[in-house]
Symmetry: C2
């Protein structure tokens, strides 16, 4: 009978690490979740950049002094959170908004018939501006912080469909100009990610039906009072820190907002 190998040693490590439960903390965190937190920190600090491959599971296991299976479970959750993308035989990669597939995650407006297809962008303006109090609060800005306001129209085959009014903390987006926005090909979040190091992780949307005011109606080539979809989006980066507040007005005459309930 082969001598049974001694029991795993890492239970002790889990206990000691998990023992940061003294005060009113989250009590206890399993080892794989602690590894997940360490890896999230590496992502946040830019040790692993969008699009790049992270170290292999074996390497990470050695680095963190845990088994490969524990690293695997941490990566599983990060992949479920859309922070990482696994590719069999190639490695695990940091998710990026520059990819084709990822765009549908934040782009929910679909034509009633036909393929999603890209829309033409036209930037109306992009300027530094003091945000109204409610916006400042939503973005966790302090009294004197200013914001960058971007307004744009998206058109589908020549017809304007979306009017976006986007507010960003100026401190994070220094040097953002209409020209830079126009020059960049690809999704805006790709630009934010590569040029400003701000990665959108998650967002919450509040959707209402509203009547178009005169200004919006003019930009969307609609009669004033037309029914529009109002989509207010608060986007968060690592640590659930809000970094974008966007108010979109959608003409849903030939498009709809698509949602999946699971």
């Amino acid at each position: 009978m082969p001598s049974v190998p001694p029991p795993a040693n890492t239970a002790a490590a889990a206990a000691s690490l998990g023992a940061a439960e003294a005060s009113a903390g989250p009590a206890f965190s399993p080892l794989y979740r602690q590894i997940k937190a360490l890896m999230t920190a590496s992502l946040q600090q830019g040790e692993w950049r969008p699009g790049e491959a992270i170290p292999s599971e074996t390497d990470l296991a050695a680095r963190f002094k845990v088994s490969q299976g524990t690293v695997r479970k941490a990566i599983d959750e990060l992949a479920a959170d859309n922070l990482l993308v696994r590719r069999q035989g190639k490695g695990t990669f940091v998710a990026t908004h520059a990819e084709e597939k990822v765009q549908f995650r934040f782009l929910r407006l679909m034509p009633d018939s036909g393929e999603p297809g890209g829309m033409e962008r036209r930037f109306i303006d992009c300027r530094r501006q003091r945000p109204p109090p409610d916006l400042a609060r939503a973005l966790h800005l302090r009294a004197n912080d200013s914001a960058v306001r971007v307004r744009r129209v998206l058109s589908f085959r020549g017809t304007p469909v979306v009017l976006d009014d986007i507010w960003l903390p100026a401190a994070l987006f220094k040097g953002l100009t209409a020209e830079r926005l126009s020059d960049y090909q690809g999704p805006m979040y790709g630009l934010f990610e590569s040029e400003f190091g701000v990665r959108m992780i998650r967002a919450e949307e509040k959707i209402c039906a509203v009547a178009a005011d005169a200004a919006s109606a003019a930009l969307l080539l609609l009669p004033p009072g037309a029914a529009l979809l109002s989509v207010e989006r608060l986007s968060m980066t690592y640590g659930d820190k809000p970094v974008e507040l966007r108010r979109g007005l959608y003409n849903t005459a030939a498009h709809h907002y698509r949602n999946e309930l699971n």
Copy 2:
């Protein structure tokens, strides 16, 4: 050197089961996914009923002749799909729409301020009716199949907010009456599940902004032409079979449709 124990035997089982790849099938399915399919069948056939506990992981492993870890991975995915709910120390249970927490999954309308709170229901009518061609097609109904049409108003503190127009395949909902709907306390999907054995698994929604027509405006106590949110929902049961088409008109003056983008 201890003699290494022989390799696991179940790889062979996986290969033989997975060998159902002869024709143009999905080629290959890992063992845990085959187990998942078997378990889904047990759910669909009613062997395990909503709210009940399924057998323990150990029992299932014995039943399917696989390791406990493989069963666990199958359950993990079924739990991620919201078909099962795990409860440590108690067991794994079949998800049910009768539970408190589950309701928020299909109920996305929130008051702009205050708690979600329940709304009062009033059923306008419930009758057997021939569906228009487009509805029939969406519900996969044949030429002569009829449908049950339910219309209702949901009110929040006395103010009507939602006007629902719901179409169901008559064959699946024999004996559904306005009285039965009124008598049942709790969510409608709970009634469908317990009384008709139809469990909603997943849904797709298309959201638009529309102007209220005269009839809808009257029921929602609004002026004609008011902007309303139109939410068209197609709900699916096991096997992605469509079993409900619902058109809702929401007054978003004091409410909004909430969505999370992950």
